[in-house]
């Protein structure tokens, strides 16, 4: 795998930031886009544009085929049983809201419990929170251990006879912990509890096999997978998509509309009301091709080696404190620096062209638990190199120099 060649496919790296080469270490937030994805959006709008699934003219048929082609590609990419188990949404956030809303409506009653973990991103907490008031449900949080991991024991301990849904992250966007989701799914199912995996950080970096994991729901953010913004995917087992009510009402999702009542369309239309993010869906097909060309196993290997290298480099730097020490770790390096706030670090690093994120990374529950208000986070993508991590370390030292004046 030649990273130089891969990096060349990303036009963003032709630009300078504050007269420096860009060292992009914010892929957990959003990944950069390869030229093929950018081109696909342009080509679709300039040569092939039409709305999908409605008209019968030439362009409409061609666009519909392209749109549905991405659905089939995604089905294969995550080894779902049926293309209709792939629902396009405006993001992973909407995917989780869809499940919380429809599952809550149909299956939850006062006193029922949802089990989350302390690692959850706000997008896998806030949608469930609405059900507290609406339905009088309770939310429990499985606790992390000292290494910032969630173990199967921690989940098991937190399940009660009232637990009606387990919703957990695949890979923590702060500690990098990769959760044993297959084992947790099997535990959940042994107690007849459905499980939702927030796969925002898992999908861009790890090989996925829905039939092997056997989870009920898996939420994906396409813009973190070298794809366009405004697009997410909800994988859901067909039995759930058939059992749950529609999420939003509108055009495209109905079968028959009368003054007396409405009947809803079949899958996948039932959950895709209104004109969807057509260009993004079609361009996301190119992201899947891009990932397939490199091979997700190769990406996993590259990022895992880089993460180990990054940990080594930062551990040698006495003023850096890494957050979390999970045994099975994704490509996220969160850290603090003695006496320097994360936002000051991010501003100083930015001047060197090093783009990181600072703050609570939408994980306030976790930061409260860790007793921190903010951390700095470097996160990796397929285009990163060891040199990027050396540059990060150099820039951190520069930060110390400025503050030690």
């Amino acid at each position: 795998m030649n990273i130089d060649n891969i990096k060349k496919q990303f036009p963003i790296f032709n630009n300078k930031v504050h007269n420096n080469d860009l060292v992009y270490l914010d892929s957990a937030n959003s990944s950069q886009k390869p030229q093929v994805v950018v081109d696909r959006i342009y080509d679709f709008y300039t040569k092939e544009f039409s709305n999908v699934g409605r008209s019968v003219h030439y362009l409409a048929v061609a666009a519909t085929n392209l749109y549905e082609n991405t659905r089939s590609m995604m089905q294969k990419y995550i080894n779902a049983k049926d293309p209709n188990e792939i629902v396009f949404t405006k993001g992973a956030t909407e995917a989780i809201n869809l499940v919380a809303n429809t599952f809550g409506q149909k299956f939850l009653e006062e006193g029922d419990e949802i089990l989350l973990t302390e690692l959850e991103h706000h997008s896998n907490y806030v949608p469930w929170h609405y059900l507290r008031k609406l339905k009088g449900i309770k939310i429990n949080f499985a606790e992390i251990n000292n290494d910032g991991e969630i173990t199967i024991e921690s989940i098991e301990k937190s399940i009660t006879p009232k637990t009606k849904m387990i919703a957990i992250t695949h890979l923590s966007n702060v500690t990098g912990a990769i959760l044993p989701i297959k084992e947790i799914t099997s535990l959940a199912h042994s107690k007849n509890i459905p499980i939702l995996i927030d796969g925002c950080q898992g999908a861009p970096h790890l090989k996925l096999d829905m039939q092997d994991i056997d989870c009920d729901f898996y939420a994906i953010s396409c813009h973190k997978m070298y794809g366009p913004t405004g697009l997410g995917i909800l994988y859901a087992k067909k039995k759930w998509l058939e059992a749950l009510p529609p999420y939003q009402g509108g055009g495209g999702m109905i079968r028959d509309v009368k003054k007396e009542g409405i009947s809803f369309g079949d899958l996948p239309n039932k959950y895709e009301a209104g004109t969807m993010a057509t260009a993004q869906v079609i361009a996301f097909g190119e992201s899947i091709k891009f990932l397939n060309q490199i091979g997700i196993e190769n990406i996993e290997k590259h990022e895992s080696e880089l993460t180990k290298y990054g940990e080594e480099v930062l551990r040698k730097n006495n003023s850096v404190k890494l957050i979390g020490n999970p045994k099975n770790k994704g490509s996220v390096l969160s850290f603090t620096l003695d006496g320097i706030h994360a936002h000051d670090i991010a501003t100083i690093l930015d001047e060197d062209g090093v783009a990181i994120r600072a703050g609570h990374h939408c994980c306030q529950i976790l930061h409260d638990k860790l007793g921190l208000t903010a951390t700095a986070r470097a996160s990796l993508g397929v285009y990163n190199t060891k040199e990027d991590l050396d540059k990060l370390n150099e820039s951190i030292n520069n930060c110390k120099k400025i503050f030690d004046r």
Binding site: K133, G339, I340, H341, A342, H343, D344, T347, I348, E351, A358, G359, H360, Q364, H367, T373, A374, I402, F403, R405
Partner: protein, 156 residues
């Protein structure tokens, strides 16, 4: 503008060793400020006397060097100021942070102005402007609120 100008000595000094970082005894007004983007938090305590002068001011909180330095410099400045002077200074400061090249108020000395102007560097860093203004906005709400109102933390 470069980083050394943003993180100049006075900001680092006040950022690392903030003045008035405590809770005023017998305070009679206070307000909490929170910058959700950064997680910066500030809690301002005021003791206002019968003549509507600030007889004591302090703050508690955590945040970046810019937000801590700003709260530190502000609390130093506001001691013994009258209610109307506070308003004038807050407006003048916010204008300077936003677009005005300097502070115009006649209430404070040139030396004090120079100190506050050290924060003007955030103009170049739009995401950091809120760090510099948080304490000042919180002071405004502390002046207008009674203790009972602002101490209630609300959860939806």
């Amino acid at each position: 503008m470069n980083l050394k100008e943003l993180y100049q000595e006075i900001i680092l000094d006040h950022g690392k060793n903030p003045r008035n970082l405590k809770k005023t005894e017998n305070f009679n007004k206070d307000a909490r400020g929170h910058n959700p983007l950064c997680g910066d938090k500030v809690h301002i305590f005021l003791k206002i006397d019968e003549n509507k002068n600030i007889s004591d001011i302090s703050f508690e909180g955590s945040g970046c060097a810019i937000s801590m330095a700003s709260a530190s410099l502000m609390t130093d400045l506001m001691k013994e100021k009258k209610e109307n002077e506070v308003k004038e200074l807050v407006d003048d400061f916010l204008k300077m942070i936003k677009d005005s090249p300097e502070m115009k108020s006649k209430i404070i000395s040139d030396d004090e102005k120079t100190k506050l102007m050290s924060l003007s560097g955030v103009k170049q860093y739009p995401m950091r402007v809120k760090c510099a203004t948080l304490a000042w906005h919180t002071l405004t709400s502390a002046m207008s609120n009674s203790q009972e109102e602002t101490n209630t933390e609300k959860f939806d």
